[in-house]
Amino acid sequence: MSLFVEQLINGCALGSLYALFAIGFGLVFATLGILNAAHGTYASWAAIAALAAVQRLGLPFPLAVLVGVAAGGALGVAVDQIAFQPLRRRGAGMLGALITSIAAWIVLDNLAGVATGQDSLSFPTDSYPGGMLHVGGIAFSTMQLITIIAMLAATLGMHLLVRHSRFGAAMRAVGWKEQAAAIVGVDPRRVVLATAFLAGAASGLAGVLGGISTANVSYSLGEGLMLKGFAAVVVGGYDDVRGAALAGVALGILEVMSAQYVSTSLRDGITYALLLGFLLLRPRGLFGGTSFVRA
């Protein structure tokens, strides 16, 4: 029984990383209409930045996380302005942005490889709260608790921002049609920048926390999050923060449980089959939502 509960916590913590990744990815997709292949590299670079903050500047854990998050956000904005803005000006569709995002992915991924010396680095054990907590015979690590709390906070914050603020209304409006944002009284350019930053920051948070708890700071960090986070976006629906977060956590639990009780080689198969099933049977995600494309 305690094994089951421990695995449930493991699944939640793992799924929280997917969720953090997914909410940013979905936000960009819904608001800016971009299928951003470079989204995973923000996580890798955020972890690299946080590690540098720890090793070079000797910053404490909370500040290092902050550095990572800021780096993820800044990278999100930079990629948007370099790779997407020129196309947006010209009114090129989703396809062009996908290609430039692939280009950005190639560049950032390989530079991340250079930055880590093609190696997988890890945070020094004394640079983060690495202890184990024991509650009634159940063991879990402090990092897992932090990850789950961070995911809940980020999801709640993002949901309130998108659904219950004027700025969020503008974001949704931009997703529909850029001029519409102007009607709500918000500069669409500011909405674009803010969306890119928030998405990058969420991905960055996933990167730093994931980089610490999986002892892996390298370009593969972002790639790993990318595939599963993408699945979470599809299952949860990209236009709903709660859906993406819930789906991310659910996928994490499903992954851990199917490895524990079914088979590791079928683990990813189960995840992706579920993904395809959702696409075909419930193509608007868990919480539904309006169609993205006009008739």
Binding site: L3, E6, Q7, N10, G11, A13, L14, N110, G113, G117, Q118, D119, S120, L121, S122, P124, T125, G130, M132, A139, S141, Q144, G210, S213, T214, A215, N216, S220, L221, G224, E255, V256, A259, Q260, S263, T264, S265, R267, D268
Partner: protein
């Protein structure tokens, strides 16, 4: 360096003896000139960390062989590099370019077995020798064209597992397996059979995948089986992750690793978590005892500023093996005559392992050294005591 030269001299004499037996045609000295080896490198991509070591070792070997004219007066060997990023399609294109370059006499490549598998038929049909420097799949070599300078890890794993069982006497053990890697599947199978024969029960086998990054759940699963020891048969990244996760969750029992734990970067990353975990090794700079090995370590340090690892040793051996073939062939060797000569070699004479016999194009090493990382980051012989 002086000692190394001495050993080389001995080896050369041995070789000369061999060629006398083989007939007078081979006695001619190698014609002066620059002999080029095409090196398909993996210096970017998923396993670039190892790929760089392989290449560095090869370059050192070429320097050494050329510097003192080991193959003959006025002879040089040089390494031409093309990166494949571990992509089979790229590796094939690189090999084709080497084949087209008439000045390239032999090639060496491949850390990944699938890549080696796709390059094999091409070199065989084009007729150019290929020395595989990293892929561990059994059955890859196919003389006269294809040779492997990778020590097969299977038997060493069994020896390590058995020694662990003899010293710590576990009742039950749990295995970690890279389920998408058949080589590790076979290695685990051999070790498990040996242990079960000794009466050690299998508590469970926890599968992970090579590309996985999160090992908290697998660690929890393994610890849930309450084994006395845990044996890890996975590639490097999962092995590192598993050890980190096990130690983090407070596992204090015995852990047995495998050769992927030998590079210095592993200690740098894991620190105290990896100390005392036994694993077998073919070469280690800390344990270098033979003159050749010591010379290799010294030369490597002087050239690259850090210690060589098992990967650099394998890259180093690949070039030495080719050089040995060239020297034995003598005269003006072609790719075909070089292949014929390589097939006749029964040992890599200049080796850092203290003996490196070749059977069917596959090298082996003499004994098994079981080592573990010490607290100050050195590889020390594993004594079995905890």
């Amino acid at each position: 360096m002086r000692i190394a030269k001495g050993a080389a001299l001995v080896a050369a004499m041995l070789l000369a003896g061999g060629s006398v037996l083989a007939g007078p045609a081979r006695a001619a000295a190698l014609a002066p000139g620059d002999y080029k080896v095409g090196f398909v490198a993996e210096i970017t991509g998923p396993i670039a960390f190892a790929g760089k070591s392989f290449l560095a070792g090869a370059q050192l070997a070429a320097d050494e062989i050329s510097a003192n004219g080991w193959m003959g007066k006025g002879t040089h060997i040089s390494v031409l590099v093309k990166d494949s990023a571990s992509d089979a399609a790229r590796a094939i294109q690189d090999i084709h370019q080497f084949i087209a370059d008439r000045s390239v006499i032999a090639t060496t490549c491949c850390i990944l077995s699938p890549v080696a598998n796709s390059v094999k038929p091409i070199v065989a049909s084009a007729g150019i020798p290929l020395v595989i420097h990293g892929a561990t799949l059994p059955g890859l070599p196919a003389p006269p064209w294809v040779y492997s300078m990778t020590v097969l890890p299977g038997p060493k794993d069994v020896a390590t597992a058995v020694k662990m069982a003899e010293t710590t006497k576990p009742k039950s053990v749990t295995y970690f397996l890279a389920a998408d890697n058949d080589a590790f599947k076979a290695r685990l199978g051999a070790a498990r059979a040996a242990l079960e024969k000794m009466g050690v029960k299998t508590a469970g086998v926890v599968s992970v995948l090579t590309a996985d990054t999160d090992f908290t759940a697998p660690a929890t699963q393994a610890m849930g089986e309450h084994p006395d020891a845990i044996l890890i048969y996975t590639t490097q990244a999962p092995a590192v992750g598993i050890i980190a996760a096990l130690r983090q969750r407070g596992y204090t029992g015995t852990i047995v690793g495998n050769d992927v734990l030998s590079p210095a970067s592993v200690f740098k990353k894991l620190g105290p978590a990896v100390v005392g975990i036994p694993f077998p090794i073919g070469f280690s700079s800390d344990l270098a005892t033979t003159p050749e090995a010591k010379a290799f370590v010294a030369g490597y340090k002087a050239k690259f500023g850090n210690d060589p690892d098992i990967y650099s040793a394998q890259g180093y051996e690949a070039i030495w093996f080719i050089a040995q073939g060239l020297r034995a062939a003598g005269g003006k060797p072609t790719r075909a005559t070089l292949a014929k000569t390589l097939a006749a070699q029964h040992e890599v004479t200049h080796n850092v392992y203290g003996g490196e016999p070749i059977t069917g194009g596959q090298i082996d090493t003499a004994g098994t050294t079981i080592v573990a990382w010490s607290a100050d980051g050195k590889l020390v012989p594993w004594t079995g005591a905890k």
